[in-house]
């Protein structure tokens, strides 16, 4: 009986051309990001810890205190919030081979699924067949790839990528970008958050991604009237994660007591504490 040859036994080109197309997609991302000096992911293993707020605050700080050109890619496809925080609105302009990012507060370039979805509409792909679950992950990874590679980010000093809870998008981001500066992990003080973020950081390490530091958000409540400080969550997740991973604790951000009305059309992002901003620049310029 003749031995059936395998894929690698046949020396000719792959004439389905699928591999070449995937490689071309990745090359497009690398080329697009070549003019971006720093790509920083903002991640957490847990939702509701304030990643988007920290991302927006860092973007504004980088633009206002350093004069940097800054972009923010909202990779949270199911719960996009950055565009609203930064006052970036559509429609998105398409010209030739590129899509232009929306321009938000302080001239920050923003791209987000929020610009593409109708108000209050969930992320939904056109195909609703029974096999849809099989391809959903690929479609979401493809959307992230296109947001990186097809958006004309231009020359940026800093591109912040607001990652969704979990680790899948971080792995995709690390695979797509050849010069990911690193990730910033956001946690709240609780033990539950520490455990979730620790898992995410393990995933980051296994993908070869540098953890730039830990930010503990909602570390305490500061009364807007009398300045009294009060614990919001029990635990010390920030310092414990810093100890266990060796990554620096960038700082603690108290809960902002005067958060503006969420229903308002324009909501200024409360500035981040100066020590957090200073430490952030220190680690990304290291």
């Amino acid at each position: 009986m003749t031995r059936l040859r395998s894929y690698r036994d046949v020396a000719g080109d792959d004439r389905s051309a699928m591999l070449a197309q995937v490689q071309a997609q990745r090359a497009r991302v690398r080329s697009r990001l070549a003019a971006v000096s720093r790509v920083v992911g903002v991640m957490s293993g847990k939702g509701g810890v304030g990643k988007s707020y920290v991302t927006s605050g860092l973007a504004i700080a980088a633009q206002q205190t350093r004069g940097w050109t800054v972009g923010v890619l909202d990779a949270d496809l199911h719960g996009p919030t950055v565009a609203r925080l930064l006052d970036a609105t559509g429609p998105v302009r398409v010209k030739g081979d590129v899509v232009h990012p929306a321009v938000g507060r302080s001239g920050i370039a923003v791209f987000s699924m929020d610009l593409l979805l109708a108000d209050e509409a969930p992320l939904r792909w056109r195909d609703t067949s029974a096999e849809h679950a099989v391809s959903r992950g690929l479609l979401e990874a493809g959307a992230l790839r296109e947001f990186l590679g097809d958006v004309a980010w231009g020359e940026l000093d800093l591109l912040l990528v607001d990652l969704p809870p979990g680790t899948a998008s971080l792995t995709d981001l690390a695979g797509l970008t050849s010069h990911l500066t690193g990730v910033l992990a956001i946690t709240i003080p609780s033990e539950e958050s520490r455990r979730a973020v620790a898992r995410a950081l393990t995933a980051a390490a296994s993908s070869g991604v540098r953890v730039l530091g830990i930010v503990e958000n909602m570390s305490e409540y500061v009364c807007g009237e009398c300045g009294a400080r009060q614990e919001l969550f029990s635990g010390q997740a920030g310092s414990r994660l810093a100890e266990s991973t060796g990554a620096p604790l960038i700082g603690r951000i108290p809960f902002f007591p005067g958060l503006p009305d969420q229903r308002a059309e324009s909501r200024p992002v409360p500035p981040l504490p100066e020590d957090v901003v200073a430490r952030f620049f220190e680690v990304i310029e290291r």
């Binding site: 059936l4 195909d127 067949s129 493809g142």
Partner: protein, 151 residues
């Protein structure tokens, strides 16, 4: 993916693909030595997986469109995108192909979310082939040749 003619022990060449619009696709390969032809018939799940990768079996016949996957697959808002300097469908002043009234009407039925991209694809198809007027027949031919399911 490679196809091997066992009789000749020769790798088969990609010939053509067909996207019938029912969620499946077919691709034909032939043996350059003996001429034997085979067709690969993919079910909806396999078709969807290939689509979700943003690739086409046998390679692309047109270059990528920006956000092609997102614009083609997302249930997004109708006014999410605006083409910068988009030419009007009825005005081809620069040697670009004319759109017949029937073709223009058909284009108007494409969701506005992707209409600009679809128009660009048909226009490039016509330009590359020296077609002066885009008609429904040209659109049908392009759909088959380019695998433009649902466009």
């Amino acid at each position: 993916m490679k196809f091997l003619c066992l009789d000749c022990d020769t790798q088969m060449a990609f010939d053509e693909r067909n996207v019938p619009g029912d969620g499946t696709f077919a691709a034909a390969f032939s043996c350059p030595t003996c001429g034997r032809k085979i067709a690969m018939l993919a079910n909806p799940m396999e078709t969807q997986l290939v689509d979700a990768l943003g690739v086409q079996i046998g390679g692309r016949t047109l270059r990528d469109q920006p956000l092609e996957l997102v614009r083609g697959k997302l249930e997004g808002r109708d006014d999410a995108f605006v083409e910068d300097g988009a030419e009007r469908a009825d005005g081809p002043p620069d040697g670009r192909p004319l759109w017949s009234a029937e073709a223009d009407e058909r284009l108007g039925r494409v969701p506005s979310f992707v209409r600009g991209m679809v128009k660009k694809i048909y226009t490039e198809y016509a330009l590359e082939r020296g077609i002066g007027e885009i008609t429904p027949a040209v659109m049908d031919r392009a759909r088959v040749e380019l695998g433009l399911e649902g466009m």
